[in-house]
Symmetry: C2
Subunit: 206 residues, 2 copies
């Protein structure tokens, strides 16, 4: 088949961008900033069985559901991925995600390492980005600095972080979050570059 | 082996960025702009048997050599890639390229589709970018607009362009050069994103 320039001037298919990070690496600020400068991209709002934190809006930050509702939806195959994190359940609604991708819209998934693995199995062309703190010492300082968690919670999160970081091997990109502006710029560069991949527009030769 | 954050905070290995484009797509302006904003990156200066054009500096734009010298160096394996384009020979000096990469410096190669194929065979992690004109009609206008070439040359370049574009299948990224500033931003995003690839710092799991 002949390749024409026109193939590259129309909107390509929607791309799934996965962003994962250990607790305290600054992922929420990072994704919020990038979404505000990329209005054409949407965030997938997860379902969770954990209680809302102060300042969180139901339907915007999370869909807060009971365990019964979560389990029913999970059994029905309603989640593109789901995971248990710190004893609470989290899941990505499948139908809305697939509809957006079909319409050519990119979707950002703020999910953990378990969920990332499931998404990559179903969406082979998903892009997985891992956000790292500058160091484990700095991560501990950030976790403690929040001032909202008990010492035991902080220690547990910090120990989990050390294990989660090992999962970076399954990711495409990393961003060391030393400075927020710099990290936002890097995430934006990854998004822009991925949209320019030839394989998203035409098939590669064997 | 345990992954540590430190693996990602030190400079990774040098990356080869290949930029190819049909004549008239605006590749020279694009690479010049990107190099001026990326002083840590260097351009590989090719050897060529063609005559210098007005405004070209030997040793900066090209190393201008005789056919005898070119053939001798080629036979000695001095070129990382070489190609014949419009009856003239072009080659990338191998030793300087390899030395720069070993030192962790990224190198930009402004080479044609034949050379790109050879580089990718030897440097598996090279990144290949294809610059497209907005349309073939626009390309013809640009070629004619230069005012330096005979009608026959313009027609030949334009016909070659149509064939060269088919080679985009073997490239990683495309940039449609509609507006120079936008194209420069895109090339910079590709460079930044490629430097953030996990596989350039640690080995992927099987």
């Amino acid at each position: 088949m002949t390749v024409s320039i026109r193939s590259f001037t129309k909107r390509g298919p929607g791309i799934v961008f996965i962003v994962s990070a250990p607790s305290g690496a600054g992922k929420t600020t990072l994704t919020r900033e990038v979404l505000s400068s990329h209005p054409e991209m949407s965030l997938s709002v997860s379902c969770t069985t954990r209680a809302p934190r102060e300042g969180e809006t139901p339907g915007k930050d999370y869909h807060f559901v009971s365990e019964t509702v979560f389990e029913r939806r999970r059994a029905a195959g309603d989640f593109a991925e789901w995971a248990e994190v710190h004893g609470k359940l989290y899941g990505t609604p499948r139908r809305l995600l697939e509809r957006r991708l079909r319409r050519g819209h990119d979707v950002l998934l703020d999910i953990d390492v378990q969920g990332a693995r499931q998404i990559r199995e179903h969406f082979a062309s998903a892009v997985a980005i891992f956000v790292l703190p500058p160091s484990l010492d700095e991560l501990r300082r950030r976790l403690a600095g929040r001032g909202t968690d008990a010492w035991k919670t902080i220690e547990q999160r910090w120990r989990n972080a050390r294990h989660e970081i090992q999962e970076i091997r399954g990711y495409d990109y990393f961003i060391v979050n030393r400075d927020v502006d710099e990290a936002v710029k890097r995430l934006a560069a990854i998004i822009e570059a991925e949209r320019l991949k030839v394989c998203r527009y035409i098939r590669k030769p064997k």
